[in-house]
């Protein structure tokens, strides 16, 4: 039947059909307090787990006496490594091909490591049992200073691995060309060298990690409820680890109270909950408290870098970096297999360098395992911090304005796609344009004038610049796998007879708004309103395979998948419409939601009509099955390369050394924006994290390996009072290879903001002491004051 354009629902600003500032569908439950987070789950007969953790960073376990704990009414069991050994679960593989103790058997290797698992009828009793477990420890000297980890007399941490004779976790990995780089440095006009540390910090989402494991002994079905950024990959790993059939494992992810990479690894608590459920035959809930979260789950960063940068004829020409990564007691960093240092070698930055060389090696220490987390895009945070600190220091050395140096050195818009000196192919960019927008929003010239006036009065005002290019959306199956699983994402679109649709995705939202944005992609490509598209995710039984949400993958990979699958459906719809309208497919034109006859535009078919037709008994095109659906597994041809220009303005109290971020200007280019409102929100969040990282967040340890920031009293996260009113701008340079022209955005602002703020702090301090070259993060008042006294110290 022919239908006309009058039937099409009309798009408005408020309710775009497709891309635009659509308010979020998922808000409906959250604003009513009806979210389904892990601790909200109550199952009949559910038991509670609690973990006893080691007070020592490094110690032999001589004995564990659980008898008093077992005698406490309400305690059903206390699991130790010995019990797990009988199930083959005492050790588990990590995402980086290492092994990690689920419960410590021979010795403990970091403070707060898991030693015993109590199962009780309620959480209060489970925790009451913990102090009743008596563990006899023999403390050992601890490796806390990463630089000393490879000393010949350093205690051996991983004596569980027969081939391990030292504390090297991953051998040196290199990128770039050392010889070419040395030549460039030899010919340079200006060379500076600097030690730069990116201290250990923590993603600390507001919801801690946990799991409810429910094993049904009769059916053999294991159902896991879990805040989990990569449920399909976990399922595959559990099958391997627990010796269970993968098709009998189901992971259900309801709502997650923040991920930021913290919910990517598999934690011992999960395996304990699973073991607990298998042994008791009841659901077992384990959810960690905040100190457990900070002291045992995947931390972020901890890179000690030694770098040199050089310039010739006023432009940056070369960069070399030698980095030492502290991975903690077990190597559980997450990155594609071929890139053991993640994407750190993107530290070549946004500049048209002649050569660069990067070396990274990783060591074990007596600290919690981790390293890749907290919106890092696989070490891009470390890389950008490094190159942007070095660039700013170089500008100072050359006596050149830091923006001017960047403008001269940028990769030009006509040079894209650009092959960097470390092997990246940047897709698209117009860096100078974005930098200029930032300068305009900031009022850069006026800021510099104000700074000069303030300097004359002894006031310390600083302006810091950061320009970053990052690579996100891993990735092409040829190059990128995790544990042998290609980093591709599936998508599945079914249009119902009514013309309403369900799109199933593998990406797992933790607040990014997938229920809205992915509906908008279908809406954009198929022209049905977003309220008619249900996004299904969070259940490995009901969603296609994918590698999960981290590294800003959602838009580049799952977004690409959804665009492609929707186009498949649209194409199918075209051929059905041709049959319906008795014409050929090539004679049909498309306007959102409708195929129409090019020669007679009044004649057409709405998607809903095509859908109804496809399910009816009416004849389908030759060789085509009924229904209106499609399925894809999307293999991105490349990463996407979002970029941004950031400017921070800080004021420092010259007497107390308190730092205040007065303004923060962020201009991001992430290509086409599906929902600008959600994009802005993502940026705001990462900027606040940058304020935290630059000024107050750090995990420090004393010489015995005791963690000194194990609660929110000492792991400080910015409140609304520390964050300025962020000023955002945008440029849009589409990604040439992405189906929607979109790039990832989730991590950009955490990547780009710490160097801007630290650069601003140094710029402020230099108003009084021009010789100050560098200060490491976090720029807490005491550390800033020490720098003002001429003795900037690295943390710990």
């Amino acid at each position: 039947m022919a239908t006309t354009t009058e039937n099409l629902p009309s798009a408005t600003q408020e309710r775009p059909i497709g891309f635009g500032r659509l308010k979020r569908k998922e808000d409906a439950r959250f604003i009513r307090g009806k979210g389904n987070y892990l601790d909200d789950l109550r199952l009949p007969g559910m038991l509670h787990g609690a973990i006893l953790r080691s007070p020592f960073a490094h110690a032999r376990i001589k004995s564990i006496d659980t008898s008093r704990a077992l005698a406490l009414p309400g305690v059903l069991g206390v699991v130790t490594a010995k019990d797990l050994e009988t199930l083959g679960l005492a050790w588990m593989p990590t995402i980086s091909y290492d092994t990690q103790a689920v419960l410590a058997g021979d010795k403990v290797r970091f403070q707060h490591q898991e030693v015993a698992f109590v199962i009780a009828t309620d959480e209060y009793i489970a925790r009451d049992a913990l102090p009743l477990i008596v563990v006899d420890y023999e403390p050992l000297p601890a490796v806390v200073n990463a630089r000393k980890a490879l000393d010949p007399d350093a205690p051996l941490i991983r004596d569980d691995k027969p081939e391990q004779t030292d504390n090297l976790a991953t051998p040196t990995w290199e990128a770039g060309d050392e010889e070419a780089t040395d030549r460039v440095f030899a010919q340079a006009d200006t060379v500076i060298t600097q030690d730069i540390i990116y201290p250990r910090c923590h993603p600390a989402p507001m919801e801690t990690c946990g799991m409810v494991a429910d094993f049904n002994a009769e059916t053999g079905q294991l159902t896991l409820y879990n805040g989990n950024q990569a449920p399909h990959a976990h399922r595959t790993v559990y099958a391997h680890v627990a010796g269970l059939a993968e098709h009998m494992i189901r992971i259900i992810v309801a709502d997650i109270g923040g991920g930021f990479g913290n919910k990517v690894p598999i934690y011992p608590g999960y395996v304990c909950a699973i073991a607990g459920s298998i042994v008791t035959g009841k659901p077992v809930k384990w959810i960690e408290d905040r100190s457990e979260n900070l002291m045992s789950t995947g931390f972020a960063r901890d890179y000690i870098m030694h770098a040199s940068i050089c310039a010739k004829d006023g432009k940056i020409t070369g960069l070399k970096v030698d980095a030492l990564a502290d991975h903690g007691a077990f190597d559980s960093t997450a990155q594609p297999t071929k890139f053991p240092a993640g994407f750190f070698h993107i530290c070549c930055g946004s500049y048209d360098l002649q050569a660069s060389h990067v070396k990274v090696k990783a060591i074990y220490s007596n600290k919690a395992p981790g390293g890749v987390a907290y919106r890092c895009s696989f070490r891009v945070t470390e890389a950008v911090y490094l190159v942007e600190r070095m660039t700013e220091a170089l500008a100072v050395e050359m006596g050149v304005d830091p923006i001017e140096l960047r403008m001269r050195s940028f990769i030009g818009p006509d040079q894209f796609p650009y092959e960097t000196t470390t092997g990246w192919t940047y897709d698209s960019g117009n860096y100078a344009k974005t930098m200029k927008v930032a300068m305009e929003i900031a009022g850069y010239e006026e800021l510099r004038s104000e700074q000069a006036e303030k300097r004359a009065r002894g006031e310390l005002m600083g302006i810091g610049i950061s320009f970053f290019t990052e690579g996100v959306g891993a990735g092409p199956r040829k190059h990128m796998d995790i544990l042998g699983l290609a980093m591709n994402d599936g998508a599945d679109l079914r249009v119902h007879p009514s013309g309403q649709a369900v799109v199933s995705i593998s990406a797992q939202t933790q607040g990014q708004g997938h229920e809205t944005t992915f509906a908008q992609i279908v809406s954009e490509e198929l022209g049905i309103p977003p309220e008619d598209v249900q996004v299904r995710h969070g259940d490995t039984d009901k969603s296609p395979y994918g590698l999960g949400t981290y590294g800003s993958r959602s838009t580049p990979v799952s977004g690409g998948a959804v665009a492609v699958v929707t186009r498949k459906v649209r194409d199918k719809a075209r051929r059905i419409a041709a049959t319906m309208l008795e014409t050929r497919p090539e004679d049909l034109g498309w306007e959102k939601g409708r195929w129409f006859v090019k020669g007679d535009p009044e004649k057409g078919a709405l998607i809903e009509d095509i859908a109804r037709y496809a399910y009816s008994g009416a004849p389908m095109p030759e060789g085509m099955e009924g229904g209106l659906d499609a399925q894809v597994m999307y293999d991105p041809p490349n990463l996407t390369y979002p970029y941004g220009a950031y400017i921070a303005v800080v004021d420092i109290d010259p007497e107390t050394a308190e730092v205040k971020v007065r303004r923060f200007i962020a201009v991001d280019d992430c290509g086409v924006r599906i929902n600008p409102m959600i994009v802005d929100g993502q940026i705001h969040g990462g900027l606040a994290e940058g304020v935290g990282i630059a000024l107050m967040e750090v995990l420090t340890f004393d010489e015995s390996g005791n963690c000194l920031n194990g609660s929110f009293m000492d792991y400080l996260i910015p409140t609304a009072l520390e964050c300025p009113d962020f000023e955002l701008g945008e440029t849009v340079t589409p990604c040439p290879h992405h189906p929607l022209g979109a790039k990832g955005i989730g991590e950009s602002s955490n990547v780009g903001s710490p160097p801007a703020i630290v650069n601003a702090v140094i710029d402020a301090l230099r108003q009084k002491d021009p010789s100050l070259r560098h200060i490491d993060m976090p720029c807490t008042p005491d550390r800033v004051w020490a720098a003002m006294q001429g003795r900037p110290e690295p943390p710990q």
Binding site: R127, D128, T700, N709, L716, T719, T780, D782, W785
Partner: protein, 291 residues
Amino acid sequence: MQTPAPCDYERATTVDGAIAALAEHGPSARILAGGHSLIPMMKLRLATPEYLIDINDLDELAFIRQDGDLIRIGAMTRHVELLSSELLARHFPVFADAERVIADPAVRNRGTIGGSLCQADPSEDLSAVCAALKAAVMVRGPRGERLIGMHEFHVGPYMTAVAADEILTEVRLLVRPGAGSAHEKVERRAGDFAILAASAAVWIDGGTYVDAGIGLGAAGPTTIDAVEAAEHLQGKAPSEELFQAAGKLAAEAAMPLADTRGPVDYKRHLAEVLTKRALHRATARALQQEA
């Protein structure tokens, strides 16, 4: 979340009833007021009282009033009330200064001045305020009532002169002419305890100081009464040099410990700077020209 160990509980209906309960249950009993020092410690199992005596129903302990030349603040007065009190703002603006930077608004709705003083955390702001104001506290127990001056109140970290079977009932402040007071605090982030804090109270007559008090918070094992620094002002006229000199003396009186908030030298430096600044503002207020 971490959870407390088992305990028993009763809700007191009178002050004397609370005192009797304390006597009956002995050293393993604790008074529960706002609970925002005690309950966090119980959750971390740093405190494991077996018996809690909840005094939140004792309205007779919640007041701020003037009786002649005394301002009296009941022990159950909440931080939020201290912050918004017009009476205190008029006579002792140091309270509002401090309250603005104590914890956060939700905590201030529950925490009390009695609880804060008795917790005696060396970093606690109201202790520095009361020390500078030369306050006295009224304490009641089985042996009756007694008044304890702030200079004798703090005995050590988390230790006060209040006996285990006594309850602090009120804080008393003498109203004298020519008063000005201010509180300065440096913290790592809003809501944190101080890296260092300084409270200053001055009384000026005929253009010179007739009395002064300086209390330093987070400056040692207990609140520091910078007596020498305060006495240095006696009989002198205000000046920037005088504030600086007093600041130096206060820094000498400080006995800070190095911790995650900062090293000793930085804290001493803050003692000097913040004392100077607090004196400057207190003086301006006393002279009724707010800087």
